[in-house]
């Protein structure tokens, strides 16, 4: 999906007041050795005069007939095309979204439009959340849940404003929605920029780069959240002839509700890990590196979405487990 010559794009989401602008100003002002073109909604919020800051007016439209996965941001296509004429003046692009933005059309722009895909690669979706007000935001707007669901990195900001027990509850809430994002605590968005920029999170090489013991001990969380997750694990190898048609059918039929999916699969008789990911109905998967000698060949698949038919998904996954081992 990526090549070295493409420009990395970081998408910055988060509700109003969470601290996005603070993080943005740090990217623009700190000396980290790289120059970022920044696409913002409001010039006024940025405290830095910089000719690489570009204002955008959200223009959402459907490339296809009302299908959610072909909904893209036209304004981003325009701006990125313009920025490509200034190639060489910056090392990466940072896209700030409005507080209520649905991250899906922003992310899909980088997979659906051929010209954008040719020049850029989606590096990571970074969501800034306010530790003190996250619970209220999650109750008030489904967009807040979607922003956490889509995140590769969650910057849990303003941790100094909450007690340890409350902070622990916020962590659990985030994990219930998105068990695979990296969560970094921060005060005044003081997270190291190396932890949010140039992460290559959409690379198949780095899928599910979370602590394996966390995934293994992952339990289902019961919340009233609109967006939830489902983690499926198998220590038995899967049958590619069962799994591959099944996962394509799942993404095709349930993709409107599946915001993101990530997985590492051990196929029967296959020396290599197979990795898979999706954003709504946009599906990507391929063989990755070989399983290491002492590595447990465990298949893990995580769905994050709305109204997930968990029993149906679990049953489908279990049917993909190879019924018998190949003769040795």
């Amino acid at each position: 999906m990526t090549t070295q010559s493409t420009i990395p794009v970081t998408v910055l989401t988060g509700f109003l007041g969470a601290g996005k602008t603070t993080l943005l100003n740090r990217v623009l002002s700190e000396s980290h050795g790289k120059r970022y073109a920044v696409i913002v909604n409001e010039f006024g919020e940025i405290g830095i005069d910089n000719d690489l800051v570009v204002n955008s007016d959200e223009e959402i439209f459907e490339m296809n007939n009302g299908c959610i996965c072909c909904t893209v941001r036209g304004d981003l296509i325009r701006i990125i095309e313009g920025l490509m004429r200034r190639r060489g003046q910056f090392d990466g692009i940072l896209v700030e979204t409005t507080g209520l933005a649905d991250p899906a059309p922003v992310a899909q722009t980088f997979f659906v439009d051929d010209d954008v895909r040719k020049n850029t690669r989606l590096d990571a979706i970074v969501t800034v959340v306010d530790a003190k007000h996250l619970a209220d935001a999650l109750e008030d707007a489904h967009e807040a849940q979607a922003q956490i669901a889509f995140a590769d990195i969650v910057v849990l900001n303003k941790t100094d404003l909450v007690e340890p027990a409350a902070l622990d509850a916020v962590h659990r809430r985030i994990r219930a929605i998105n068990p695979v994002a990296t969560v970094r605590e921060a005060e005044r968005c003081n997270v190291p920029l190396t932890e949010v920029l140039d992460r290559n999170a959409f690379s198949l090489e780095r899928i599910l780069e979370v602590e394996p013991e966390f995934l293994e001990s992952l339990h289902e969380h019961e919340h009233d959240d609109h967006v939830t997750s489902l983690s499926l694990v198998s220590n038995e190898p899967l049958d590619p002839n069962a799994f591959l048609p099944w996962i394509q059918d799942v993404v095709q039929t349930l993709g409107a509700d599946i915001l993101r999916m990530k997985g590492i699969i051990a196929f029967r008789g296959d020396p290599d890990r197979f990795v898979v990911q999706s954003v709504h109905m946009l599906l990507d998967g391929d063989h990755q590196r070989a399983w290491k000698e002492n590595e447990a060949r465990t298949s893990r698949l995580v769905f994050i979405g709305r109204n997930l038919p968990k029993e149906l998904l679990r049953a489908g996954f279990e049917k993909s487990v190879a019924s018998e081992a190949l003769p040795s």
């Binding site: 439209f61 072909c70 051929d114 095709q252 946009l282």
Partner: protein, 87 residues
């Protein structure tokens, strides 16, 4: 993104076809140099969507985006198709 197990190799043929389509669109609409034209081949998995389509976005500066669809793979799009779609 792409189908499972099939890497997205953007062949020289695709690039050539895409550039040719952009050039035709620019000529037919007499677009200024700073207008943006993008060409994408969309293969959607949604059962409600048609099969393979070529989607052209025409983005003149200061004017709304125009979306033009042609029901054919990008490599098969001909000048006649674009003339008909732009009418």
């Amino acid at each position: 993104m792409i189908s499972l197990g099939v890497r997205a190799g953007r062949s020289a043929d695709l690039k050539e076809s895409s550039d040719r389509i952009k050039s035709w669109v620019r000529q037919l609409l007499s677009l200024p140099n700073d207008a943006v034209v993008t060409v994408s081949e969309i293969t959607c998995r949604d059962v409600k969507c048609p099969g393979v389509e070529t989607v052209i976005l025409v983005m003149p500066p200061g004017a709304p985006t125009r979306l033009v669809k042609i029901s054919a793979p990008l490599l098969d799009v001909q000048l006649d198709d674009i003339e008909a779609a732009l009418k």
